[in-house]
């Protein structure tokens, strides 16, 4: 039976124009479909219509001449923290079964089977809060299994995972998708592109621009994908290439005998680390090895033993840097402090330039990152990708000498990711030092002047990168 939608019209009450006008879509039974498109193209909304969440749960006015939807659908959403109700793994899975009125005696058996199928090897009484992002998403899939849904809707399930966990999650999904219809929205497509039957490209006005099988899409429609800034397996062929930049001899930041702990456990020790002006450093390592903790320790935001020196002066508190070292955290929402996007960048500059110059620079930065049009909005109002770009924009502007970035390209589309890399390159060229955590293999091999890796509690230099 599959899914069929004909002449779908939908308009958000507060929006100026309709999101969908006469949209047609047919998805065959057991077909695996990947929907890609720029942000704001209505992918998630379409998914919510296909699964019946709109208008049953989310009240949005819509109309369609034909609407054949699956009998039972299950969703996996992007934010692991916003899809679980209960404190423990067992109780969360039981929640789904309670809804279906499964007998209590059968629940333990069924939830063990589901955990086995998705390969989540934890004690059912484990608190969900202690699971990693990848494990949480597996739990979400286990709960979808227990809903006995014949159709799965995956709304960017890997957007908050690192590369390793993401490919692992896709393997898990492929193992259980036989016999089911699966509709996927995803930005990071390298693991899933050639596994689906069809790729649908949406444009930025809520229309289906084109659809084709993955091979054909890549062969004949690459230009269209690139034009909409959508990631595809060959995206990196368009990546910007930069001339190598020589780091300058002056050492900016030094760490001596630094010991970083998490709770009572020792995470890592660093005997000596020198960071020079104009270096572009990537910090790598598996999840949980303490990359973020190391950066926090260098910033003196968490307690650690040993010395950190900035320009030969000891740093004991964040304020000793005097703003010369600036972090961009993973969660952009949590570092905004003003009421407009423009002010967010402007206040960093206003103490260093006269008002006119500060305004000019702030405006130029925002334009460069494609944020010029949203300058008047509240920073929490803009889209996730825009928030991430804004958080990077606050770091730029020529004042900080070292910028620390935690996964800056996460969740950005191709176009904006490349533009961001260009901007980072320009900053390095003008003498700024960049230290960034990244899981992206392509970035690691292309851009940094030096690669650091955390291995077994030690910091090692990646071979061939002794710049």
């Amino acid at each position: 039976m599959g899914i069929a939608v004909r002449n779908l019209r939908l308009k958000f009450p507060e929006a100026q124009a309709r999101l969908f006008t006469d949209l047609d879509l047919k998805i065959e039974d057991e077909e695996k479909v990947l929907i890609v498109g720029p942000s704001g193209s209505g992918k998630s909304t379409l998914l919510n219509v296909l699964g019946g969440l709109i208008p049953n749960v989310i009240n949005v006015p819509m109309k369609a001449d034909q609407l054949a939807l699956p009998d039972s659908a299950a969703y996996v959403f992007q934010d692991p923290d916003a899809q679980f109700t209960m404190p423990t793994v067992a109780e969360e899975l039981a929640f789904v079964m309670e809804n279906r009125q499964v007998r209590a005696e059968d629940m333990d058996q069924q939830l063990k089977e589901a955990l086995g199928t998705v390969g989540l090897d934890v004690d059912p009484i484990t608190a969900i809060q202690t699971l990693s992002g990848g494990m949480k998403q597996k739990l979400a899939i286990a709960s979808a299994l227990l809903q006995q849904a014949d159709t799965l809707f995956l709304d960017e399930p890997t957007s908050m995972l690192d590369d390793g966990s993401a490919s692992h999650l896709w393997e898990t999904i492929q193992q259980m998708w036989k016999g089911r219809t699966v509709v996927i929205i995803e930005h990071r497509v390298e693991d899933i592109w050639d596994k689906v039957d069809r790729v649908i490209l949406m444009d930025d006005a809520g229309r289906i621009d084109r659809m084709a099988c993955p091979d054909e899409m890549l062969k004949n429609h690459r230009d269209a994908l690139d034009a909409f800034g959508v990631w595809h397996p060959e995206s990196w062929c368009n990546a910007p290439e930069f001339s190598e930049i020589e780091a300058q001899p002056d050492v900016l930041l030094e760490a001596r005998h630094l010991m970083v702990n998490r709770g009572s456990r020792q995470l890592l020790t660093i005997d000596a680390l020198d960071i020079r002006k104009g270096e572009w450093i990537t910090l790598e390592g598996d999840n949980g090895t303490g990359k973020t903790s190391l950066l926090l320790a260098l910033m003196r935001l968490i307690p650690s033993k040993g010395d950190v020196l900035f320009k030969n002066r000891k740093v004991r508190k964040p304020k000793h840097y005097g703003g010369a070292l600036y972090p961009v955290f993973q969660n952009p929402e949590l570092q905004f402090i003003t009421n407009t996007v423009f002010d967010e960048v402007f206040i960093n500059l206003e103490l260093h330039f006269d008002k006119g110059e500060a305004e000019r620079r702030a405006g130029a930065l925002l334009d460069r990152l494609g944020l010029g049009k949203v300058g008047h909005l509240h920073p929490l109002e803009i889209s996730t990708g825009q928030k991430r770009r804004l958080s990077v924009a606050t770091a730029a502007g020529g004042i900080p000498e070292i910028i620390i970035l935690d996964e800056p390209t996460f969740g950005l589309d191709q176009r904006h990711a490349f533009r961001l890399l260009e901007m980072l390159h320009d900053m390095v060229k003008s003498g700024t030092t960049i230290i960034m955590i990244t899981h992206d293999e392509e970035i690691k091999v292309r851009y940094p002047s030096r690669r650091l890796r955390i291995e077994e509690g030690k910091l090692v230099e990646e071979a061939g990168f002794d710049a």
């Binding site: 929640f95 009421n339 960093n348």
Partner: protein
């Protein structure tokens, strides 16, 4: 709930959470009407023994907890002890005037608090939070939508705490770069609250959608944890009543306080 600091489970775990809460209410009313400090003295000791036996909490955590409760109890009674009225002066030092009556009254109030804290701790140590809501749905006819909303909300608390930490870190680092008016005083406070609220509201909205997408409604459902009343509930009630009565008897037999009425 606090499995990490317990080293064995006890029959008190099996007692229905509703029973425990009702006993707590009953105990509160009883303690308020006990005016004999000797009675309360023995009741506090017996409650401590009950807590030690029935909570299953590791001894060092128990000791730490007891000391903390006694310490705070002491502090809260000081006001009464130092400035209360009375005729038999024990000590006078400036405006501090300790009389025998005020000392007894202060200690009496402290013991009331201690008894209730010990029993409260016993409930907290032996009850899983989810069981409270499961029990309220099954025995208390609470609508599932409220129960699950509460459970989901509790899950949010550590997430919000984590966000607050990150928010503070970001401010610490940005502080040297920007004018202090943006992060101090009312403005700093309001942007913090707005950020935390907007994050939480957004998450709650998404979670609500996720819950409904998992087939949750307010209708009939089965329950993973089945809670019911059992003979253990009756035994538990009897044990508490016996404790109160024997404390009163012990108070007749051994009276550390010279008076039978602290008022």
């Amino acid at each position: 709930m606090l499995e990490a600091i317990r080293h064995y489970s006890t029959p008190a775990d099996q007692v229905n959470p509703l029973t425990k809460i009702l006993i707590a209410v009953g105990l509160f009313l009883t303690v308020i009407f006990i005016h004999d400090p000797n009675h309360l003295f023995h009741l506090s000791i017996l409650m401590l023994i009950l807590l030690a036996l029935l909570s299953g909490v590791k001894i060092r955590y128990l000791a730490l907890f007891t000391v903390t409760i006694l310490f705070f109890g002491m502090i809260s009674s000081l006001y009464m002890i130092f400035y209360g009225e009375g005729t038999t002066t024990l000590l006078r030092f400036g405006i501090v005037h300790i009389t025998e009556e005020s000392a007894v009254r202060g200690l009496h109030i402290m013991m009331r608090g201690v008894v209730l804290s010990f029993f409260g701790a016993l409930i907290v140590f032996t009850t899983r939070l989810t069981d409270v809501f499961y029990s309220m749905m099954q025995q208390g006819r609470l609508k599932p939508k409220f129960a699950y909303a509460f459970m989901a909300a509790i899950r949010m608390v550590p997430i919000i705490a984590g966000e607050y930490m990150t928010l503070r870190r970001a401010r610490k680092v940005r502080r040297p770069l920007i004018h202090r008016k943006y992060i101090s005083g009312y403005k700093g406070f309001s942007t913090t609250i707005i950020t935390l609220l907007s994050q939480s509201i957004r998450r709650a909205y998404r979670l609500g959608i996720a819950m409904e997408s998992k087939g949750f409604d307010d209708g009939a459902r089965t329950y993973y944890h089945r809670t019911s009343f059992s003979v253990l509930d009756i035994i538990f009630i009897i044990v508490i009543i016996l404790t109160v009565i024997s404390a009163s008897e012990l108070g007749q037999w051994y009276s550390p306080f010279p008076t039978r009425d602290a008022r």
